[in-house]
């Protein structure tokens, strides 16, 4: 259009030039030529104006349309949001960022199955460990509150005497064993954290929110537990309170997650054969099939490790952690294999200590000749260590097991608690309160149940493994109760209050 216009204008100019160059032409023809030229000029100007106007109108129209679109979008915020959300921001929100060829529903399901079994055992052994403290007895509960969550509590038995040792050994060792599986499982589902759009429906929003319970819960429980067994008390809360109630938050998350994902896990497990995967080398490793949950990368890279290689790595790491720690719970010669355990291989001998005499400020005067044991029942009796030694002595082979996972089996010699109760005038003992010289601090006292006081193996021990108790193990006298948590075997005992069985 513009080109034509230019042509016409040029044509007009040429005619004018021609007219000027032809002086032989008459004045009439000169006038008519001028008229024609003027007409052409007018037409050209008109055409130009029309064209400019047309372009302006078109531009205005499109501007109005765009503005109208924007106004319409403003009037339809959901639509605007939808359009914005449909394009994920760069980085991890773009599915193409995630390229591992091993992620997929089968791998996630397999790791999920291991954790389903493992974490369930971990939760049960942990709750049992809490029950072992007989928290319903006065002063024993480290975690006040939430009575409904203590529905399962029962009087902790004294037999079998290895129950607490095994329970707590499993809790700590299995916890260590599951660390690589937890990390691998979180790795396998991590792209889901960056799903775009972040929320599709109320149901999905609520489900994502519930993941705080399971992911936060598992990491919180593992972190607090692992730090606690190393005496690294950096957390701004009581370990017992936080670890117990954190566990309940985690259990809430776990039960929901399993309820919602169990069918997906079964489908995932069925999608591949474990046996075949274990026979598949790197060269044959192919990405999994795309799954509805979108766990598989949309454009997987070439694998650098086989699926069996990854599983062997996770399992091997788990075995390594266990192998370097479990000796502290089994004891005997295996203790020397426990390179990475708080009470494993040690320079000071095999019998581990928890709370040294020095740490509670115990002096020689406290445990020397001035030491007296006070028994309170229907009458009060005060005994020197020699007088206790003169009472009938009994020997019990009992393990002492710490909540931190280590345990040690020993031969304890001393007086039966039931005999001491009779001495204080209590024939049928009920609960008893054991107190230590230790002036303050947790577990300076413990309440024992009637069953614990009456058990013939429950001793006020004076000797261990045929020698006097070392001071760090409670000299002059300590209690040893079959199947009780380590901290309920009170050291440096100087006062026992017996109650009649109600």
């Amino acid at each position: 259009m513009a080109g034509k216009r230019r042509q016409r204008r040029r044509a007009g100019c040429q005619r004018e030039k021609l007219a000027a160059a032809d002086p032989a032409a008459g004045s009439v023809s000169a006038t008519s030529r001028k008229v024609v030229a003027a007409l052409v000029a007018v037409v050209a100007v008109l055409l130009t104006v029309v064209a400019v106007l047309r372009a302006a109108v078109a531009a205005l129209r499109s501007a109005v349309a765009a503005l109208r679109g924007k106004v319409a979008a403003l009037a339809d915020p959901a639509g605007l949001l939808r359009r914005t959300l449909s394009r994920p921001p760069p980085g991890p929100f773009r599915p193409g960022t995630w390229r591992s060829p091993l992620r997929g529903q089968w791998l996630t399901s397999l790791l999920g199955l291991v954790l389903l079994v493992g974490l369930t055992i971990l939760a049960v052994t942990g709750l049992l460990s809490y029950a072992a403290y007989n928290p319903r007895l006065p002063g024993n509960d480290e975690t006040r509150g939430a009575p409904l969550l203590k529905f399962y509590l029962f009087s902790w038995p004294t037999h079998p005497s290895w129950l607490y040792r095994v329970d707590q050994g499993i809790h700590i060792t299995l916890g260590l064993a599951l660390v690589p599986f937890v990390l691998a499982k979180l790795w396998s589902v991590l792209p889901k954290l960056f799903t775009w759009p972040p929320v599709r429906s109320a149901a999905q929003a609520l489900e994502r929110l519930s993941l705080i319970m399971i992911v936060g819960g598992v990491l919180f429980e593992f972190a607090t537990g692992i730090l606690d067994i190393q005496n690294y008390y950096v957390f701004p809360f009581s370990f017992y309170t936080a670890h117990l109630y954190g566990a309940w938050v985690f259990i809430a998350g776990l039960v929901t997650h399993v309820t919602l994902k169990f069918p997906h896990m079964l489908a995932g497990l069925r999608s591949r054969s474990l046996r075949r995967e274990l026979r598949t080398p790197l060269s044959e490793t192919r990405p999994e099939e795309p799954d509805p949950a979108g766990l598989r990368a949309p454009s997987p890279a070439a694998p650098t490790i086989s699926r069996r290689g990854l599983l062997a790595g996770v399992g091997g790491a788990s075995v390594t952690l266990v192998a370097l720690a479990v000796g502290q719970s089994i004891g005997g010669w295996t203790r020397r294999t426990a390179l990475f355990a708080p009470r494993g291989l040690s320079a000071t001998g095999a019998f581990p200590v928890n709370r040294t005499a020095a740490s509670i400020g115990l002096t020689s005067a406290d445990v020397g000749d001035s030491y007296r044991l006070t028994l309170i029942g229907t009458r009060t009796v005060t005994l020197t260590r020699e007088q206790i030694l003169a009472l009938p002595q009994h020997t019990a082979e009992l393990p002492i097991a710490c909540v931190e996972g280590w345990s040690y089996a020993a031969s304890w010699t001393g007086v039966r608690l039931a005999d001491l109760a009779r001495l204080a005038g209590i024939a049928d003992p009920g609960i008893a309160q054991i107190e230590s010289i230790q002036p303050k601090g947790s577990f300076r006292a413990a309440a024992l149940s009637a069953a614990q006081v009456s058990d013939p193996q429950s001793l006020l021990a004076l000797r261990v493994n045929g020698a006097d108790l070392p001071r760090d193990h409670g000299y002059p006298a300590r209690t040893i109760i079959p199947n009780a948590p380590g901290v309920h075997n009170t050291k440096w005992v100087n006062k026992i209050t017996f109650l009649e069985n109600a």
């Binding site: 006040r144 509150g145 939430a146 969550l149 660390v179 979180l186 790795w187 991590l190 429906s201 109320a202 149901a203 999905q204 609520l206 489900e207 519930s210 705080i212 992911v215 936060g216 972190a223 692992i226 730090l227 190393q230 005496n231 690294y232 008390y233 957390f235 701004p236 809360f237 009581s238 309170t241 936080a242 109630y245 954190g246 309940w248 938050v249 809430a252 998350g253 309820t259 790197l282 060269s283 890279a301 070439a302 694998p303 650098t304 490790i305 790595g313 091997g316 790491a317 390594t320 952690l321 370097l324 990475f340 009470r343 291989l345 320079a347 581990p352 200590v353 928890n354 040294t356 020095a358």
Partner: protein
């Protein structure tokens, strides 16, 4: 009934039972947290819960991913190191290597670095308070022991794992090269 379920489905986005299960879970968790609130410890509890998530998802995971990526970039994709850039970028090249179609060039070295490094870092992740002596005072008060052996044990175990890995890589390399020689041998007289 079906109308109600349909209505919930439309507005909620899932089966009403889904909502019920989640509400039950939130109620249980809320009750447990209430006990922490009553104990006056909820602030630290909440912070640690969130820091645990953020610490793993936005710190630990990116760090180990980055470490793995860097090691992969730094290491030659093949033992001989020839043409490794291309093999790394071109998936087919990698697959060719791993398929053993070029046995003379040996197996990829990456997993012989990855495995001991991952095991060593995992030990550090779990036992860092003892290894780095962060809890030495409390640990000594409790056990009458020192945390000092743990650092040496960690270094020793790390060294042992890398050594075992290096030896097994060397053995595999030798096996691969002898296989390669055998594979090439019949072709030699023809040339």
């Amino acid at each position: 009934m079906t109308a109600v379920i349909g209505w919930v489905r439309r507005w909620y986005g899932a089966n009403p039972l889904h909502l019920l299960a989640l509400l039950a879970a939130f109620a249980l968790a809320g009750y447990a947290v209430h006990a922490v609130v009553a104990a006056g410890q909820w602030r630290g509890f909440a912070v640690w819960f969130l820091v645990a998530i953020v610490g793993h998802d936005l710190l630990l995971f990116p760090l180990y991913s980055l470490a793995d990526l860097s090691v992969r970039r730094l290491l030659p994709q093949r033992a001989t190191g020839t043409n490794d850039r291309q093999a790394g970028q071109d998936g087919a090249g990698l697959r060719r290597v791993s398929a053993g179609m070029a046995p003379s060039q040996g197996p990829p070295v990456i997993n012989y670095v990855r495995v001991p490094a991952a095991f060593s870092l995992l030990l550090l992740l779990v036992w860092f308070p003892l290894i780095l002596g962060l809890s030495s005072a409390e640990y000594h008060r409790a056990s009458d022991l020192s945390t000092s052996p743990y650092l040496w044990r960690w270094l020793a175990v790390t060294g042992a794992m890398f050594t075992v890995s290096a030896v097994s890589y060397a053995l595999r390399l030798r096996r691969a090269s002898s296989q390669g020689r055998r594979a090439r041998a019949p072709a030699a007289p023809g040339r």
